[in-house]
C-alpha cells in the first residue's frame, strides 16, 4: 500500500534516519552536559560524544578529526570558508573565483566580499552544468587566493570535475573550497584524493538533523587558516565560538557513519530507480533532461516538460507527491531558476522544469505512481496549453510578439 504524500525532494532536505534519532536522544536528557565543561563527568561525557562524532564525520570525507569545525549548517560553513579565507589571506590577494550555479550561500557571500573590496570572477558553466577547466585556469591571477566551486549542484545534480580543478589550484598555489552539501554521503568524497582544502557539509541532507553542519579546514600541505566569523569562547580551535550542539553533532556523526556503510547499496538502488523514472518521463514528447547525464549524482533528475508551467504541473499531484520546480511563479521576482538559465535554457524551459530527488526510503511503488501521475498531468495541462496547440500547429513561437512584463 502506498502512503501519501510521497517525498521526492531529497535535495531540499531528508528525513532523519530513525537510527540517527535514537543515537541523539540521550544527549537531550541524561547526557546534557556542555562539551566545554572540563571539570565534571557531564562535560566529559559530552566531550567524548563530540569526539566520536568528529571521527565519524572526518572518516566519511577522509579527513583528520582535528580538521572538522562544527557549524550551524552549510550556510554558516560557506560563509566561514569564503569570508574567513578572504580576511586571513588579505595580504596575499583579494581575488576569488567561483561559478554562476553555486548555491546562494556562496554567491551572496561572494557579493558581500565584493562590497568589502574583494574581486570575484563568476565562471559561466557550459550547457551541461560543468565548468570549463581552461577558463578556470585562465581566470587565475597573482591576486587569486581562493577557488570556490561546488562539488555537486543542488538543482540538476551535476558533479564537478573536482580532481582536475584541484590539480589546477595546486599548480597555481591557490586554495580550493568546495560546497559539498549535495555530494557528501551520496558519492565518494575524499579531501586528500580530491585535493580539497576547505569543504562544507550539512547533516540534514544526509538523513541527519537540521541545524548542524561542518567546515573541513586542511591542517597540512598546506596548513589552512580562516578568520573566525563568530567571536566568543574560542571553541572549535578558535574558528567557531559557541557552545557545541551536542545532540546535533552526535546525530551528524551517526548519519555520516550510516551513509558511509550504506552508500554503495543506496547508490545502486537509487540510480536504478532514478533511471526508471527518467526513462519513462523522457518518453513524453518535448521532455528534456537538464544537466550532464553522466557526471551527476545517482538520485537526482531534473526534467523540463516544454509548454507546461512547472508550478501548474506540480499542482496536479502535489498533495500526493512532493517535488520541486525551477519555476518561480511564487517568488516575488517571478524569475525562474538561475541555475537552469545558466545552462542556456530559455526562460520558458526553466519555468517548465521539475526536480525529482530520490532518497534512502524511496520505493519502486512510489516511482511507478510518480511516473503515472506526472505523465497524466503533463498531458492534461498540454491539452489546456495555448503553446502546445501552437507547437502542434507548427507555429513558430518566436514569430509572436509577446507582451513582455
Amino acid at each position: 500500500m502506498l502512503k501519501f504524500p510521497i517525498y521526492l525532494d531529497h535535495n531540499a532536505t531528508t528525513p532523519c534516519d530513525p537510527r540517527v534519532v535514537e543515537a541523539m536522544i540521550p544527549y537531550f536528557t541524561n547526557n546534557f552536559g556542555n562539551a566545554a565543561s572540563r571539570n565534571h563527568p557531564f562535560g566529559w561525557e559530552a566531550e567524548a560524544a563530540v569526539d566520536k562524532a568528529r571521527e565519524q564525520v572526518a572518516k566519511l570525507i577522509g579527513a583528520d578529526p582535528k580538521e572538522i569545525i562544527f557549524t550551524s549548517g552549510a550556510t554558516e560553513a560557506d560563509n566561514l570558508a569564503v569570508k574567513g579565507v578572504f580576511e586571513m589571506y588579505a595580504s596575499k590577494g583579494n581575488h576569488i573565483i567561483t561559478c554562476n550555479i553555486e548555491h546562494k550561500a556562496v554567491l551572496d557571500t561572494c557579493k558581500h566580499i565584493e562590497k568589502e573590496g574583494g574581486e570575484v570572477t563568476y565562471l559561466k558553466v557550459k550547457d551541461n552544468g560543468l565548468i570549463d577547466l581552461a577558463e578556470l585556469e585562465a581566470a587565475i591571477k597573482p591576486s587569486t587566493i581562493l577557488i570556490a566551486i561546488m562539488y555537486a549542484n543542488n538543482e540538476i545534480g551535476t558533479v564537478m570535475p573536482m580532481k582536475e580543478i584541484s590539480a589546477i589550484a595546486k599548480k597555481k598555489g591557490v586554495l580550493l573550497f568546495t560546497d559539498a552539501v549535495q555530494a557528501v554521503g551520496k558519492i565518494p568524497v575524499d579531501v586528500n584524493k580530491d585535493g580539497i582544502d576547505l569543504l562544507s557539509m550539512t547533516a540534514h541532507k544526509m538523513y541527519g538533523p537540521k541545524g548542524i553542519g561542518a567546515l573541513y579546514v586542511r591542517r597540512k600541505n598546506p596548513r589552512v587558516k580562516v578568520t573566525a566569523q563568530i567571536d566568543g569562547g574560542g571553541h572549535e580551535r578558535g574558528m567557531r565560538s559557541g557552545t557545541l550542539n551536542v545532540p546535533g553533532i552526535v546525530g551528524f556523526g551517526k548519519a555520516c557513519e550510516l551513509s558511509m556503510n550504506e552508500m554503495e547499496a543506496d547508490t545502486k538502488r537509487l540510480s536504478s530507480l532514478r533511471d526508471k523514472l527518467e526513462t519513462a518521463l523522457l518518453k513524453l514528447e518535448e521532455a528534456y533532461l537538464n544537466g550532464d547525464k553522466e557526471h551527476r549524482l545517482p538520485h537526482v533528475s531534473n526534467i523540463s516538460f516544454k509548454y507546461v508551467e512547472g508550478e501548474g504541473l506540480m499542482m496536479g499531484f502535489n498533495k500526493e507527491i512532493a517535488v520541486s520546480s525551477g519555476s518561480a511563479c511564487t517568488s516575488a521576482s517571478l524569475e525562474p531558476s538561475y541555475v537552469l538559465k545558466a545552462l542556456g535554457l530559455g526562460d520558458d524551459l526553466a519555468h517548465s522544469s521539475l526536480r525529482f530527488g530520490l532518497g534512502r526510503f524511496t520505493t519502486e511503488d512510489q516511482i511507478d505512481y510518480t511516473i503515472e501521475q506526472v505523465s497524466t498531468t503533463v498531458n492534461k495541462l498540454r491539452e489546456m496549453s495555448p503553446l502546445w496547440e501552437m507547437y502542434k500547429e507548427g507555429i513558430d513561437m518566436n514569430s509572436i510578439e509577446w507582451a513582455h512584463h
Binding site: E309, E311, G312, T330, G346, D347, H351, M384, H405
Partner: protein, 139 residues
C-alpha cells in the same frame, strides 16, 4: 503555499477549455503574457451579432494553477454578458472570488487583460474603434 478550494476546483475541473474559430468575424481572441514570464493566456469570445451578447467563451492557459483558475473563471463570467459589460470585469473581482494571495494577483491582471484584448480583437474585426486600456499596474 496552499491553494484556495476555489482555485483547486477550477484547476481540477476547468470550465470552457478549448478553441473557437478565430477566422469567424464574431469571434474575438486575446493572447496575453509571454512564455518567458511563465504565463500565457488565450481567451476567446463568440458574440451573438443580433444581441451583442457573448454566447460562448473558451480559454487555454500556460501557467500556474492560479492562472488556470483565473482564466477558467473569466470564461464563466463572460458567457451571457454583453460585450460592454465584459470590459467592466475588474481583476480584483477575480482575486476576491478565488481568494488569490498577493503573489498571485498578476494572474488576475492577466485574465483581465485577456478579456480586454479579446473584446478589442472582436471590435477591430467588426470595424469598431479599439477601446483604450489603462496599463495594468501589477505584472
Amino acid at each position: 503555499m496552499a491553494y484556495s478550494e476555489k482555485v483547486l476546483g477550477h484547476y481540477t475541473n476547468p470550465q470552457n477549455v478549448g478553441t473557437l474559430d478565430k477566422s469567424k468575424l464574431n469571434v474575438g481572441t486575446g493572447l496575453v503574457g509571454a512564455p518567458e514570464c511563465g504565463d500565457v493566456m488565450r481567451l476567446q469570445i463568440e458574440v451573438d451579432e443580433a444581441t451583442g451578447m457573448i454566447k460562448d467563451a473558451k480559454f487555454k492557459t500556460f501557467g500556474c494553477g492560479s492562472a488556470i483558475a483565473s482564466s477558467s473563471l473569466a470564461t464563466e463570467w463572460l458567457k451571457g454578458k454583453s460585450v460592454e459589460d465584459a470590459m467592466k470585469i475588474d481583476n480584483m473581482e477575480i482575486v476576491e472570488e478565488l481568494n488569490l494571495p498577493p503573489v498571485k494577483i498578476h494572474c488576475s491582471v492577466l485574465a483581465e487583460d485577456a478579456i480586454k484584448a479579446a473584446v478589442n480583437d472582436y471590435r477591430q474585426k467588426n470595424g469598431l474603434p479599439v477601446l483604450k486600456i489603462d496599463e495594468s499596474v501589477v505584472h
